[in-house]
């Protein structure tokens, strides 16, 4: 093998296969730079994106109101959830618009407008619709988007136990 190679190169003009000293130094400098930048920045990037990679906790059920109080007309009910926001643990109040549909089934809608996240209200303009004060988005009683908003209102999972309405995790609207 080596004999053969030797035989071939002997007939050709000498060709330097190895890189020049200057090239070698440049590559090394580049590599060192890359290591220094990467070593310094990578931990910081992982640090910054940590909230994106955190595992989501399981949703819990929260007691809201007695089922007998739910009417066909949507009403706003507040309920407390336990919320961990980094180092800040709180029990904020959330709101849900809860009503019965034609079949008497209870459902709860999130009051967050699907357009740009303002807080909607029921029937504020007297049209028996959910209205958003920001960009005039409108939704039906089922949360179906009528104007401006791209999606129907989010829905809370709801269960009724012993005559009490429990509200669970939020999900995409399943009614429209």
């Amino acid at each position: 093998m080596s004999n053969h190679e030797h035989h071939e190169t002997a007939h050709r003009p000498v060709q330097r296969k190895e890189m020049s000293r200057r090239q070698f130094l440049s590559y090394t400098l580049g590599g060192t730079t890359a290591f220094m930048v990467g070593g310094a920045v990578l931990p910081m990037v992982r640090f910054a994106v940590d909230p994106l990679l955190e595992k989501k906790g399981e949703g819990t059920w929260v007691k809201v109101v007695e089922a007998s109080k739910i009417t066909n007309e949507p009403q706003e009910f507040k309920f407390q959830i336990h919320q961990v926001d980094g180092w800040y643990v709180s029990d904020p109040e959330l709101a849900a618009w809860i009503s019965k549909d034609a079949n008497g089934e209870i459902f709860a809608l999130s009051p967050v407008c699907k357009h740009l996240g303002c807080t909607i209200g029921w029937n504020t303009k007297g049209k028996n619709e959910y209205d958003c004060p920001c960009h005039d988005a409108r939704y039906t009683k089922d949360g179906k988007n009528l104007a401006v908003a791209p999606n129907p209102l989010d829905e809370y999972e709801v269960k009724v136990e012993d005559g009490t309405v429990y509200v669970g995790p939020i999900k995409a609207n399943s009614r429209v």
């Binding site: 910054a48 994106v49 909230p51 994106l52 955190e54 919320q83 926001d85 980094g86 180092w87 800040y88 357009h115 740009l116 996240g117 303002c118 920001c134 791209p150």
Partner: protein, 223 residues
């Protein structure tokens, strides 16, 4: 005394050419409002820089009282605004200065646009200038949240929601800005960091590039 100190430093570092270059360069008549009053339109760039300096200074002083924490942010702004001597003025400078920077920068941009000063060979300086514009808008957006009042909270929610509507990466951008799933403690600290360190750092680098290019290329000639 001062002259001796200066000479001593100059002998070693030869600093005279550094400032001489800035001081002695000739400014042509067509940008001098003393010769043509209409040349005041050439002042907007300098005024933008002046207000930017005020913004940086007032912002530095505001952080002597401000805390980026959802429990205390509002209280600290309330305190520095209403209890600290001249607090209303310093916060007013920062608050209204933000608007004024945008106005001045807008006028400066229009001047450059309508005098065609962005044309060759000054294309790069226009691009850098536009980047400065975007950084300023970013500073405005992130600074709006910091007082943590209702206006701040809901405007930020809406703003991030806009970013969220970007296809595919939108939710990730939103989550990155929120530092979680809600506008909360982690959002405030993030916005504070972006507003106080990241964007000003980028801004200063861009401003340096902007000014270097002006010195290198000189001011554009009269129309």
């Amino acid at each position: 005394m001062f002259k001796n100190v200066y000479n001593w430093i100059d002998e070693r570092l030869d600093i005279t050419p550094l400032w001489r270059d800035v001081a002695d360069h000739e400014v042509p008549e067509h940008v001098n409002p003393a010769h043509h009053f209409s040349a005041f339109v050439y002042c907007f760039g300098g005024l933008t820089f002046f207000i930017t300096v005020i913004q940086i200074l007032s912002g530095m002083f505001l952080t002597m009282y401000y805390v980026p924490d959802i429990l205390n942010a509002y209280a600290s702004v309330d305190y520095l605004n209403h209890k600290v001597a001249f607090g209303g003025i310093v916060r007013g400078m920062h608050h209204f200065g933000a608007s004024l920077v945008i106005v001045m920068m807008f006028l400066h941009t229009l001047r450059v646009f309508f005098t065609g000063s962005y044309k060759a060979p000054r294309e790069m300086n226009w691009v850098v200038g536009m980047l400065i514009f975007f950084i300023m808008l970013g500073l405005g957006f992130t600074g709006y949240l910091l007082p943590w009042d209702n206006k701040a909270y809901f405007a930020t929610k809406v703003g991030v929601q806009i970013a969220e509507s970007v296809p595919y990466i939108g939710p990730y951008i939103a989550q990155f800005l929120y530092g979680g799933d809600i506008v909360g403690a982690q959002t405030l600290t993030r916005f504070f960091a972006i507003h106080v360190f990241f964007l000003p750092g980028a801004l200063i680098a861009m401003l340096a590039a902007h000014f270097l290019m002006i010195r290198k290329q000189g001011i554009s000639g009269p129309l």
